[in-house]
Each structure stands twice: as structure tokens, then as C-alpha cells.
Amino acid sequence: MTINLEILDSAYVYAPKVIEELNTKELVPKMVVRRRLTRAAKIAIYLADKVSFSNGRIIYGSSFGELSATANILNSINSKEPISPTHFQNSVYNTAVSYLSMLSDNKNEIMTISSGDNTSLKILKSGAIKSLDGDTLLLLATETLNIDKIEEVSSCIDFLESGVALKVRFTDEEATIDLNNINNGVKTPKSLDHMLNIAKSMHMDKPNIIEMIL
């Protein structure tokens, strides 16, 4: 079965270590909220704003989730120090998109997928199936791998922080982007590849449509 998706808008961002310009102060004016946000949450909030999506269903994904919060908890256990409640509550995989829902008062269905290197492919497949209901969805993926000693476990990623957002809806029109013939050309985490490739292949002058094979 195949389902075609029209990409209505897209945004992406990545940096070798830390993405500097996420506009968090403006997007999250309350400091008490801002200081609790994880890096992934800040990227999610930035990208949702970039594609002007504030209310509707979201399918979010990350292969490694909130790695920094998890590493902090492990270090606390290892050094027999108390675990930070904030680190624990921020360690679940749906943290980033939960903060996004709170800040935009979005009470809709919000899913979190974590399917390893195929995470963004699975987000696209899930988005295609859900798009059959007729609404516009936000597909969102982030990886935040910038933790101390990350090189011990991963040396093949040039960009430790990355994120991509696609605003999509179902279409009957033919595909204009060939998913098999695009490559984003940089060593971002593989889990983002499929969505990043699409975001980078967007045409300004014609509809952007992909065919998802399920």
C-alpha cells in the first residue's frame, strides 16, 4: 500500500555541538519554564514555530531520546549522589514534545516514536497512515547527543544536535520528490536522514509530494 503526503512546510537545524540560535528567550518568555527545558525541547519549540504549527496532531521521534538527562542520572547513581527530580522527569522520550504541547496549549494526540536509525522513516509512515483522517500533522524529529564522552560510543556523527520538522497532509497528487534519490550529504544521525533529506529537497515553485510505501 502507498500513501502520498504533501509537505506544506519544513524546517531543519543542526550544529556540530550546540545549536546557538533557537530563539528560546522569545519563544518561552517565562524563565521558570525555560530553565526546565531540555535541548531537544528547545529544538522542538523552535522548529514548530518555524513551520507555524501550534495546534493539531504531532508525531515526534528520537532514536536516543533525552540522552543528557539519562547520562546525568547514571552519573549520579555511579557517584552515589541524589538523583535530580528534574533530570528524571525530563528523561522520558516524550519530554520534548510534551513541553511543546504545554507551551502551545495543544491538547491533541501527540505520539513519540523511537525506531533506531529508521526513526524518521517510521515517523513518515505513521504520519502517512494518520493523514488518511484528513487533518494537517506536524512530523518532528530531534537528536541531542552532545554529552560528555560521547566519542566513547559514537565517532561517526559530525553533528551532535539536530532537528527537522515537516508539516504534512494527505494528497491524491503524484509524488514530486523521489525518496530513493536524495541524500542530505552530511553526517547527521541516521535516525533523522529520511526527514532531513525531504526537508532539503523542498521545491519553492511546485508542490512537494512524497510517496510512502508501507
Binding site: L74, S84, N94, S101, D105, M111, G116, T119, S126, I150
Partner: protein, 370 residues
Amino acid sequence: MKIKNKIFITATSSVSCAGDDDKTLFTNICDGNSGIKQDKNYFFEAQPAIGKLCSTSAFYDALLLQCQNILDQSKLEDFNDTLLIIGSSVGGMNTTEEIYLKTQNYKNIDPDFHHINAIANIINEKFDFYDDISFSTACTSSANAIGYAYEVLSKGVYKNALVVGVDSLSKITVGGFLTLGVLSSTPCKPFDADRDGMNVAEAIACLLLESESSDNAIEVCGVGYSSDAYHMTHPHPDGKGAISAMSQALKSASIESKQIDYINAHGTGTIANDNAEANAIATLFPHRPCVSSTKSVTGHTLGAAGALEAIISCMVLKEQKYPKNTFLDTPENTNLNLPLISKEDEINYVLSNSFAFGGNNCSLVFGKCK
């Protein structure tokens, strides 16, 4: 959601602290035999009551055994046409923690067996599936996995789906909930005025969903999702998100609230959850259906809870018997019908609630096949 096909649960298999098969699980729930015990293996200074897997096998061997049980029960020859849907909040975290605390570095950690997808990777080493997808929304993970299976099968996208709800305990999980101050040192008493917290537990719960019914199958009638958009760890006190998820599940099932005979509550035993859920149920179900939390026997199995409680809901419908609220002495919310004894009755529809960190909510409606 536009529905094409009816969807049925045709096979189930589980292991938890309350039993190593579904019948034992349900008998222990109805009889009030809790699998929750005090444990000091995680942290010497605290002795929370928790639920360890009731199995002689290693955790991942038990996982593969549950999948094999499903295949043996089903009419399938293999899983080649099956979508594997994982629901887990921690994935392979236990393995990572073990290696890191032993070596104090990440060098020997295999990323493919650390993340949530580690579960799918382990299952895919033994079985061939058509495709797989893993959901991780904390304590709603496997409820959302069942919801997704219901959606994709009812839309006719896949032939059948194996949902696997799975979570193991680790120092991160036990220590994390300890630091939030919500763990009880005795088996929990959800909805009791004197409750003092929850019990974390581990479980593996598998369900095969198909668009064709078979003997003893249970229908998945509907699913409802919502987000609280309120707080990372506290639900809205009025249970607004819970009301929304339950209402949408009823709408999806095309039934009225008065048709629900039994509610398997999320019922963790924490003040915040129980109050919000009780308010939500009392608002939406004025006809006072039987409500019980089975977590006093199974513990809160986190990402596996939705799938484990879906199996319990199936057993309720098969046995036509609703389970009691074990250890409940003094119900705090008198608007709820909280049975103190397990009882046989005519039960046509069951609603099962799952709520999670981040205000993620999922309600499922199950029905007796007609």
C-alpha cells in the same frame, strides 16, 4: 478516524510479578494475591515495594518466549505478514546501566541495544516481521501501541499486528521514582484515603491483533488519545485530559458512556493520579460502572502497563468477572463504584485507561464479540 475493519485480539501472553501466564495473572488479581514485595537490591537506604518478573528465564529469554506463545496460539505460520509494534519506556536501558556502572564508561555499550528499538532488535533476531515500529510515551507506551495497531488494521494497511508492551526495572527507574517521593514500601492502595504511593514493576505483555475474529477473541472497539498540556508529571486536577481521552475512545467505539460495564483504571496509588482520574470517571460515568485498579497486584509496569491491562481487560470479558480493588479499605471518592470483592456479572464493554508523564493520555475500549 475513518474505520473500515473490525479488529480483534486473537491471542495474548504475559509475564509479570503477578504470574507467568494470563490465567494465573487474572486469578491472582481476582483473589488479591499481590506480586509486590519490598526490595533493597536497588538502593540500600530505601526499601520500596516493587514487582519483579515472575519467571525463571532471563528477561530477554522471557520476552522471546512470550512472542513464541503468541505464534503457538495463533493460526499464523510465522510473523512474515505481521507488523511488530513495541511499547516501552526504557527499552534497553537496563543493559546500558549494568555496563556503565561496571566499567564507568560508554565504550562497551552497543547503541542498538540501548535505545527503545533494542526490544525490536532482540525480537527481530529470532522472528521475521513485515515491519516494526516502537512507541515510547512513558507509561502510555503500550496503550498507544495498541491504539496504533487498531488504527492501521482498521484502515486496512497491514494484515495483523503483534503488540509487545515491555519494561524492565533498573536503578534509574527505581531511583527516579524514589527521588520523586512517590514509591510506597507496601503494596499500593489506589483510590484509598490512606494510600501512600505506587509500586514500580516489570512486565512483558503481548497481544496479537487481527481483522478476522477467532474463537475466544475480544474486539478492540475504540481508542482515544489526548494531551493534558498542563504539567510534566502532574495531571490536570479535574482530569480534563483523561475525560478527553475517554470521551474520544467512546466516540471511536460508537457507544455511550452508560454502556461501559467495567473500567480498568490507571489507578497508580499516587494522590495526583488517583484524584484526577476519579474526578474524570465520576464526571463521565454517572451510572457508576465498576472501577478497579489492578496495580495493587501487578504494580505499575510503566511502558508495559497498557498492554498488560489490555490483557486483564480481555480476561474480564472472557471470564465475565470484574476484579476487586485489592487492599482498598476506605475509598476516598465516594462517587466511584469501587468493588471490594471480585464478582461474576454480565460485562459487554470494558474501558482501560493509561496516563503518562508529559500529560500523554490513552483510553481503549474492548468488547465481547457478538
